[in-house]
Every structure is written in C-alpha cells, then in structure tokens.
C-alpha cells in the first residue's frame, strides 16, 4: 500500500470524449494498482461532489478529456474544495484548451504555428457564409485544416482541399462547438512531445512520430490499434527532434502548464516544428501517445503517475 492516502482518478464526464476518458482513467488506475497504489475511479456527474466531500480524497488524478476536463471547470471545483490534483491549474487549462489562444501565445513566444483564422458560427450567419469562405481561401489558400476551437481526439476535424470541402468541414466542426479554427494544412512529419515534471523541472519524453495508414490521424486512426504506425523515438534528424522538444518545452512553460502535457507538432521538410495544439490532459488509453513516450523513455507508467501524485499531494 502506498503512502498517498485516498487516490481518486476522475474519468468519464459528459464531453464528446467520454469514452476516451473512461479508457484513460482505467489505464491510469491499472498502472497505479500494479504498484500497489489504492485507487478509486469516479465519474463526473451529479454525484461527484457528494462523493468527494463524503470521503475526501488526499489527491486526485483527472483523466478527463474535452470540455469539463480540459477547460479547467473540474479543476476549478477541485480548487474550491481544496483537493490537490495532478496537472495544470484552471487558468492554464482554459488557455490551452482554447486552441487559437494557445497558438497566439506560442507565436508570441517565437514558436511557429500555421496561419489561421478563428470564426464563430454567428459570423457566417451575419456576414454570409460564401463571402467569408471566399475570404478565408483568399487569405490562407488551400488545403486547409478545420477543427473546433475547443475539443480533442480529432472530433469534428478534417482537411479541406476544395472550397466545397471547406463548407462541409465547417459544418463538421460546428457540430462539436460554436467556434471553428481554420488553419493552413501543413505537409510534414506529425509528432507529439510529452513533457513531465516530477519536481526537477519540465522534461521532454522521447518524440513520438505518428504515421496513420490512411494519412489522416483522425478518431478511427487514433483509437483502432493497428491503424497507425508509431515511431518512438521518432525518425527525425537529431536537430529536428531537438527543435520539436524545445517547442514542446516552450509550450509547457508559455502556457504555464504543470506536471504533464503533450504538444502536437508538424515538423516540416526543413526540420522546423510547427505548433498545432497542446493538451493538459493527454490521452492515456491503450493507443495514446503519452504512454508510448513513457515506454520509449524506459519508464514505468505507474511509477511516473505515482510521482506526479506525490508532487500534487505535496503541493496541497
């Protein structure tokens, strides 16, 4: 039995990524139980507060994705209750979960990020969709990548290679949220860099290179084992890999992230990393990138999670 006291993993919730979150939560709990840490997994619903106050945990590991989980809301509640938790503070979570805001912060810090425009659904209604789409293409060209401004797991995200496809892509993104981010689509090597901080400062784990069979790392490619080939560490040239690591560390610092984060990048033919987005609650499922990076670093996931819990508990 560990000395962490009562540990609760939060998983589920009502976001579109509930299923992914449940799987992440199970994996975290399994990894911790494997090293004799007693863990309870709780869903985020109307009974959560009663459960947290009736049997107060000593530390919480949120494994919540999407809204509620990554927008800072549940972390705000944990702050209110004074319960320590692993991961970023609510304000940093809100900033990071808002992809356009995060991009702006990284751009200001000197990290390249694809040109983009962020538009709410109302803009298209008020100004006329055709004219706005024309203006987007005139400014950013084609192809474009369209995704909900807030959200994860590539839900509602798609590539638009024509104006016609752009219309469909906008509708797809707006199905998941009221604001869409449209950015230039970059060809290059897709990588993810996880950063962990167990007390010695942020450290990047090995760069994970993502090669989906279909060419698109969409929901199916992410969560169907076998449909994507991963290289961890990546096959990038050392300088490019180092640049990717530096971009992820910059993201972790600029976005004021804490304990653990994952930054998704495209590395272009010149070896320059382009920031796509950062994640305050990286997926930890059987096919997720952070567990791959942990394994590639030769670490034990359970021990790493326990160290993060200790750090959170100590922080109070």
């Amino acid at each position: 039995m560990s000395d962490l006291g009562r540990v609760v993993v939060l998983a589920g919730g009502l976001s579109h990524e509930r299923d992914v979150s449940l799987r992440s939560g199970r994996r975290i709990a399994d990894a911790l139980r494997a090293i004799d840490v007693d863990v309870e997994v709780l869903d985020v619903d109307g009974r959560l507060l009663a459960a947290l106050t009736a049997d107060r945990p000593d530390v919480v590991f949120p494994a919540l994705h999407g809204s509620y989980g990554e927008d800072g809301a549940v972390r705000d509640v944990l702050e209110l209750l004074g319960i320590p938790y692993v991961g970023s503070r609510p304000d940093a979570s809100r900033l990071t979960f808002d992809k356009p805001m995060a991009k702006a912060a990284l751009r200001a810090a000197g990290v390249r990020t694809p040109d983009s425009v962020t538009l709410p659904q109302d803009t298209f209604r008020d100004l006329g969709a055709g004219a706005v789409l024309d203006a987007i293409v005139a400014r950013l060209g084609l192809p474009l990548f369209v995704k909900p401004a807030r959200g994860g797991s590539a839900l509602g995200a798609s590539v638009a290679r024509t104006l016609d496809e752009l219309s469909s892509a906008m509708v797809g993104a707006f199905a998941y949220g009221d604001v869409a981010l449209v950015e230039t689509y970059l060809e290059g090597t897709e990588v993810a860099v996880s950063v962990v901080d167990t007390g010695d400062g942020p450290t990047a784990l090995p760069v994970v290179e993502i090669v989906p069979d279909t060419g698109v790392y969409d929901y199916t490619a992410r969560y169907t084992a076998g449909m994507t080939e991963f290289f961890a560490p990546s096959r990038l040239a050392p300088e490019a890999a180092q640049a990717a690591v530096q971009a992820a560390l910059t993201a972790h610092q600029v976005l004021r992230l804490r304990d653990v984060s994952r930054t998704d990048l495209i590395v272009d033919a010149e070896g320059t990393p382009w920031f796509l987005e950062a994640n305050v609650a990286p997926g930890m499922t059987e096919t997720s990138l952070l567990p791959l990076a942990i394994a590639a670093a030769g670490l034990d996931a359970g021990i790493l999670y326990r160290e993060l819990l200790h750090r959170a508990a100590k922080r109070g």
Partner: protein, 439 residues
C-alpha cells in the same frame, strides 16, 4: 533521461497483419464514441432498442428461478441439447401459433437470442460475395452479421406498407443479370426495425410468390410480431410457406432480453445444418436460460404480460408521435408505427443525421443515424428514434431537444449549403455492430 536509439515502428497490435479480411470494418468510430455519452442518464437516449422490462413481475420471475434451481438445478446447470430444450421447443410452437404458424418441436433450433439464429443462417448459406437481399433500410445487427460473412447486401425499397414487390422483382432481375447469386431475402415484416412499418397483408402473398418463382429463400425475422398496438398479430410469412421460409423468433421483447433465448424454424435439411453449426458455435444454448423461459411460460400469465408490454409501448409511441407533431420543424417526416419500438424520421432536405449527432449529444439527446441501417452508405437524411425505453415525459423532452437541434442544423445548412460533392459515407456496418444499446 536516456533516449534510446530509434526502433522499428509500433502498431500497438502484434497481430495486425494476421486478421481475417472480414475484420476490415471493425474499427473505432466517432459515432460509437458518442454513444458512450448517450448512455448517461442526463441524455435522453432515443437511440437504443432496449426492451423496457420494468413492467416485468420480478418477484414472480425470482420465485420461478429459485424453484428451478432447487427442483431441477442439476439439469438446468448442465450442458444441454444443441437443438435446445425439447419442452421449450414445444412451448415455442404454442407461441408461434398466435401468428398462424403450425410447426413441430423438431423444426425448431433454440439459439442465443435471434441474433445467433441470424448468425447461424448466414454462416450456413453465405460464401464471400454472395448476395443477400434486404430491405432499405434494414436492421443494423443483421447488416453487421452479413458483413462479417462478407456478403454483398442489395437493398430493396420499402414504403409505408413494407417491402415493395415491384422493387423486389427488379432487384432479383438486376442481381441475376449481373451474374451473381442471391442466397436469401432477409425481411422484418412486422413493426420493422428501423422503420416501424408492417408488410401489408395484401403484399405478403405477393412477396412469397415472387420468392418462390425466383427460388429465393426468405429469412423472416420477427422479434416484434406480438407487440402490435391495435389488432391481432399479423399472419407470419412462415405460416403460408413452410419450405420457402426460415423464421427467426425471440423472447427478448416478449419476456426478457438478458436471458438471450431466441429460435429458428427451418425446413428439415436446413434445421439439421443449423443444429450442427450451433453446436460448433456454442455446444448448446444456455440450458438455465431456456428452462427459465420454459418455467415462465408454464407458470406465469405470459399472454397478459405481453398485453402489459403492448399497452406500455403504445403509450410511449403516442407520446413520441404527439411530440413529433408538436415540435418538429417543417420538412421533417416520420412513419406511424402501429407496434414495435421504432419511428423512422426523415429530416428536411440537405440535413445529415450522422453529421448532426455531436450537436444532438451536446443538447443531451441521442438517436441512431440512418446510415447505420444501410450497407451502402445511404440513409444520411434519416434517423431511427426508439420509444421503447424512456418514459413518455422523457420522450417528449427528448423530441423537444431534438427539434431544437434540427432547427440549428437547418440554419447551418442554409448558411453553408449542401456541398455538390457530398457523397454518402463509406459503408461500414460492422463499426456500428448493435451492442446492447443499438439492437
């Protein structure tokens, strides 16, 4: 931190190059992910086809089960016959008599739900590439089974009176002209899943004639036949053609789905193969479940219980149709089921029910997009709504939420238009394998 040297790529699946071709569609999907949210109580799920067994007399069932264990436990907990319990098969004959079927207990193979009967029928008849005719739309679980045996499904048009005979004739002729072989017609004549409609009495004889003339076997899937709200049960196709029809039945809707007891009635030679295939699959259907059903039929007023179910479902159907009339925006149409579990809703022109599903889940309401019920990617403009499980109040609230979602989507589609190049999504029925919530 030591960074090891680059290694070969990992696919997180050591067996990725060994799977059978039939697993090609077995992938994760956004729609399935969204159903994880739909199962939460905060969401009004009009998606699942789960029978509402709250009306079951659980005390009586408990007594029945307890007595079974005490009095006949050593039989009930033992392996049994591959064909199924003989007493139960006799009782099944009695149940089927309500729909005009005269069968002998020997004609029956008891299965693990009628889903297994469907699997066995497909297994014994279908080679990869064989053609199965099925209604357009058709039951998602059947399409998943057909896909797993690599059948080619050719859909045949329906209307409010069920399968259209002329469309069936045309489909048979077209498949024959293409040099392909039709193995059977799969049809759900009563309270169709997902459309909710019935094959009219006038068409029943005609459909059988067409199939007899073309030498096409009919698979009659009839899980909802006893759940009509207005009239006596319709006469089964099998009642008028014992040699040309394989009939699939189930206790999932008339008693309890958790027991997983269904059956197939087939001509002698087919039945022999079904039993052998069943034994290869499960040795024997669960004896405990069969004997529970048998004891229930013997000791409980099961006809009265079916009447209770019918009344409960009728009230829910009324609530749904009333809410649809009250809330749905102009241009939305729907079927008017006289039994069963489902209403088939067709959206105003240009809307895509699958693309709209995330918005619906955000609004805390769920349905099954129409594409799930087609093997060829069609059905985007439609959805299946189930009225079987939620209370009438929840049904009204769910339809109200759904109407709001459709109105928002209409606004969005009006803004962006329906793209010229929009094509139906690729067919992938196995990704929507029914699961307990979709059946």
């Amino acid at each position: 931190m030591n960074v090891p040297q680059s290694q070969p790529g990992s696919r997180l699946d050591n067996y990725v190059d060994r799977y059978a071709a039939r697993t090609a569609g077995m992938t994760a999907s956004e729609v399935r992910a969204l159903f994880a949210v739909a199962s939460r109580p905060e969401v009004v799920s009009l998606a699942g086809g789960m029978p509402n067994i709250n009306a079951l007399p659980l005390d009586a069932v408990a007594d029945t089960v307890a007595r079974l264990v005490v009095e006949r436990g050593t039989v009930a907990l033992q392996y049994g016959s591959g064909q199924g319990d003989e007493t139960l098969r006799g009782q099944i004959c009695e149940v089927m008599r309500l729909e005009g079927i005269e069968a002998h207990p020997d004609d029956i193979t008891v299965t693990v739900g009628s889903q297994q009967a469907l699997d066995l029928v497909t297994r014994i008849f279908i080679d990869p590439g064989d053609v199965i005719l099925a209604e357009a739309p058709s039951y998602v679980g059947a399409l998943s089974t057909f896909a797993s045996y690599q059948a080619d499904v050719v859909h045949v048009g329906m209307d409010e009176d069920g399968l259209v005979p002329e469309h069936l004739e045309n489909a048979i002729a077209a498949v024959r002209a293409s040099g392909r072989r039709i193995k059977f017609l799969y049809t759900i004549p009563n309270f169709h899943n997902p459309m909710g409609v019935c094959l009219s009495p006038e068409r029943r004889g005609r459909i059988l004639e067409i199939c007899r003339a073309a030498d096409v076997l009919v698979i009659e899937d009839n899980p909802y036949g006893l759940l009509g709200f207005d009239n006596e049960p319709m006469r089964a196709l099998r009642a008028d053609d014992a040699e040309g029809v394989v009939y699939l039945g189930s206790f999932s809707k008339t008693f309890a789905p958790g027991l997983r007891v269904g059956w197939a009635v087939a001509p002698h030679a087919v039945r022999e193969k079904l039993v052998l295939a069943a034994e290869a699959s499960v040795l024997s259907p669960p004896v405990f479940s069969q004997m529970t059903v048998s004891a229930y039929l013997e000791t409980q007023p099961w006809r009265a219980q079916i009447k209770n179910y019918r009344e409960m479902y009728r009230e829910r159907r009324d609530a749904m149709l009333d809410a649809l009339r009250t809330y749905m925006p102009e241009g939305t149409t729907w079927t008017n089921p006289t039994g069963g579990f489902f209403v088939w809703v067709t959206l105003p022109a240009g809307l895509d029910a699958k693309a709209m599903l995330p918005r619906a889940v955000t609004a805390r309401v769920a349905y099954v997009p129409g594409t799930a019920f087609y093997a060829d990617g069609f059905g985007a403009s439609s959805m299946r709504l189930s009225f079987c499980y939620p209370t009438p109040e929840r049904i009204r609230e769910g339809v109200r939420r759904l109407a709001g979602v459709i109105t928002q989507e209409l606004e969005l589609r009006t803004m962006f238009g329906t793209p010229q190049s929009q094509t139906p999504p690729a067919a992938s029925p196995t990704t929507l394998a029914p699961g307990p919530d979709l059946a």
